[in-house]
């Protein structure tokens, strides 16, 4: 047991672990993480198998990286605990038994003699030091008076609170790693989606996209209602950066898209030789439109939101309606008289192949469909630990670096009607500021009568 504690309390181990964890983190940013084995094979060839076996391809979740973090946590705990009791002693029962030689060996020190007795010396000293708001502890030893003046003593516990914060963050990370849950749901207006693992459902009341004047997206807003036991519990509009939280489940606006399963198509058919003969229709895919005057019927068979010729087949470049097109077929009785692609954005560029010279023009005027909202849902029980840990971390850091403890030790020796004053200032973290203050105090002490 003692051996284990000695091993983990060593600061050298901490330094070693920090260096190793840092280098491992660097490696993880140089090798792309969590790609497919094929990608690694293409990129690293022979080496790829080794990389995958060593879990370098998912480094931050690998067993060895986790082990390093656990070792590091143990190291932090033991280092902090073994240093805590001397610190507590220093804060609560400081050692006043210092020697003159120790004071004179300090980096900041002074000694001089005054024509005062011990009482007068102490009174003058307290007066001089008052400007610095120091607290004074005092003891007598073999006719000498020892004084310890210090302030901001809580600063010495800053690093311990930082370490506590780091541990809480690591614990939060472990809890997140084991029990966080996250999924994306695509939900259309009016739709109700049950949330797996819970007894509530979410309904999308309204979804809208806002645009900047230049056409780029400004924001997406989804109005969600949480339904539990068939009663609406909560309605809120979420947008990017402003999620909704319900019973530990958080709903984030993460993406959007169009539902192309069942668009409504506005199709205009016109007779070229007699434009007064026209048919305007709203139709679904596969729905026949009858144009009685011309004894025709037409039917949209296929829809592509972003038409492109891929190889030599029509395809779609994306799911955004950049170049919407439908494949339309025109029938007279039993016979198909023409068929082909027409484009909403290029009405004159139709690709109708006709059996007979066609007198008809078809236009795709508009496409209406619902947009769906992409909502990321997450439950992460670790996250509160993270915020708690971060709070400790910051309190500790500001205590350690913005509230640095400093002290001044004095020894007063009364010899032959005079008092010899020895003093030394000490501050691990604000040497310069202490030096300034120390000089001021000593100057005022020397000059007082």
């Amino acid at each position: 047991m003692k051996f284990i504690i000695d091993f983990f309390k060593s600061l050298k181990l901490a330094i070693f672990l920090i260096i190793i964890i840092t280098l491992a983190s660097v490696l993880g940013t140089l090798i792309p993480q969590m790609r497919s084995p094929q990608e690694y094979a293409a990129h690293y060839g022979q080496l790829s198998e080794l990389l995958i076996r060593l879990e370098v391809t998912d480094l931050y979740h690998s067993w060895w990286f986790m082990s390093l973090l656990i070792l590091f946590s143990l190291n932090i705990v033991i280092c902090t605990l073994t240093r805590l009791s001397p610190k507590l002693r220093r804060a609560l029962r400081p050692n006043l038994e210092f020697e003159t030689s120790t004071l004179m060996a300090a980096k900041i020190n002074e000694s001089f003699t005054k024509n005062w007795d011990l009482e007068k010396s102490q009174a003058e000293l307290k007066k001089a030091i008052r400007v610095g708001h120091y607290r004074i502890k005092k003891t007598r030893k073999d006719g000498e008076v020892h004084l310890l003046a210090r302030k901001k003593i809580l600063g010495i516990f800053g690093s311990d609170i930082v370490h506590l914060g780091l541990l809480v963050i690591l614990i939060g990370g472990i809890i997140s790693g084991f029990s966080s849950f996250r999924t994306t749901i695509n939900i259309s207006e009016g739709e109700i989606v049950p949330i797996i693992g819970t007894d509530f459902k979410v309904q999308l009341d309204k979804f809208e996209t806002e645009y900047h004047p230049n056409g780029s997206v400004k924001d997406w807003k989804s109005t969600l209602t949480v339904i539990e036991d068939d009663t609406p519990r909560l309605t809120r509009t979420i947008e990017v950066n402003y999620p909704l939280t319900y019973k530990g489940y958080v709903f984030y606006q993460s993406s959007y898209g169009w539902d192309w399963q069942n668009p409504t198509l506005e199709i205009w058919a016109t007779k070229a030789s007699d434009p007064s003969s026209q048919k305007k229709a709203f139709a679904k895919l596969g729905e026949k439109v009858i144009w009685e005057e011309e004894n025709l019927e037409f039917i949209a068979l296929q829809f592509l939101p972003d038409f492109v010729i891929d190889g030599n087949k029509p395809g779609t470049r994306s799911l955004d309606p950049n170049n919407p097109a439908i494949f339309i077929q025109v029938n007279r009785g039993e016979d198909s008289i023409s068929a082909g692609w027409i484009f909403a954005k290029f009405p004159d560029f139709s690709q109708m192949h006709s059996e007979e010279e066609s007198d008809y023009k078809f236009e795709l005027k508009d496409i209406q469909t619902s947009q769906y909202s992409g909502i990321q849902m997450a439950k992460d029980p670790g996250v509160n630990y993270i915020w708690l840990g971060c709070t400790f971390l910051m309190i500790g850091l500001f205590m350690a670096f913005y509230w640095p403890t400093r002290d001044i030790r004095f020894i007063l020796k009364y010899i032959d009607g005079k008092t010899e004053i020895f003093s030394a200032g000490r501050s691990a973290k604000s040497q310069l500021a202490l030096e300034e203050e120390y000089t001021k105090i000593m100057t005022s002490l020397r000059s007082s009568k």
Binding site: T22, S254, C390, F401
Partner: protein, 272 residues
């Protein structure tokens, strides 16, 4: 008058300040260094106006693309410098730091950096943009000063060892101590802005506080390097060359987090 004019005027002031500092380096006249500091301070105020102007014009925080964030970094550098200069009177650091600030300004004004203010994408529309970026860059500005003083330490130290240190030169010991002070001020700021505020914002915008994205990982790496600096120094008593070397590596890591990650590694955090 508009933002780019103000930016140009700032640039000119910083240039003039650099000339005063160079004059100070050769003539050793205190007056030149004092003039340099006044000109930097004036430049800093014009720069502040430029940033405010940009904020009003674009309606968002002035650090949402590379041009803006470089300009803001130069501003933070000038601020951190003015603060340390008034506090520690380290005139010799001025010339080197001015060179870095001018370098950043030049980079910001290069034609490669798109300057037009574009509307913000949805993920960036949050007050966390202000908190996250400004506090992080302020912390990094202190790391930048520690970087300069650490390099100066290296030079001063080898001169002192060879016994060719010039009369009136800043002592290596003082440089070492200033480096430490700057790291000690910068580290809590960097932790708060870069890591803590970053995690809070990531959680609000992406639904996860940490995703090992390259930018996140590199800011953690930077944090580890400075944690190493502080532990070796405070607990193990390292000083001088070894400390200076760690501070230099730390700033280079911060610089890589800032630039390198955007251009060399792909990730979520692809704005600036």
């Amino acid at each position: 008058m508009n933002e780019s004019t103000l930016f140009l005027i700032t640039f000119i002031f910083y240039f003039i300040a650099a000339f005063f500092y160079l004059a100070f380096m050769f003539s050793k006249k205190e007056g030149s260094a004092k003039a340099g500091l006044s000109v930097v301070t004036i430049g800093f105020f014009v720069h502040t106006m430029a940033l405010i102007w940009r904020t009003i014009e674009s309606g968002h925080a002035p650090f949402t693309n590379m041009y803006e964030s470089l300009s803001f970094l130069a501003w933070s550098g000038a601020l951190a410098y003015i603060v340390t200069e008034y506090k520690y009177k380290i005139r010799k650091v001025g010339p080197y730091l001015m060179l870095i600030i001018i370098g950043i300004m030049a980079l910001a004004s290069s034609p490669l950096m798109p300057k037009e203010a574009t509307p913000l994408m949805p993920a960036l529309q949050s007050y966390w943009l202000w908190l996250h970026v400004s506090v992080t860059l302020l912390g990094e500005a202190f790391f930048a000063i520690a970087f300069v003083t650490s390099i100066m330490y290296m030079a001063a130290d080898s001169r002192e060892k060879k016994g060719i240190a010039k009369e009136g030169a800043i002592s290596s010991e003082k440089l070492d101590s200033i480096s430490y002070r700057c790291v000690a001020v910068g580290f809590p700021l960097f932790t708060l802005g870069g890591l803590v505020f970053g995690m809070v914002w990531a959680y609000k915008a992406w639904g996860t506080y940490w995703s090992w994205d390259p930018k996140e990982t590199w800011s953690l790496i930077t944090w580890f390097v400075f944690a190493l600096y502080l532990h070796t120094r405070i607990v193990m008593g390292w000083k001088g060359r070894r400390s200076a070397l760690i501070a230099i590596i730390g700033f280079l890591a911060a610089l890589f987090t800032y630039f390198g990650v955007n251009y060399l590694l792909a990730g979520l955090h692809s704005y600036a």
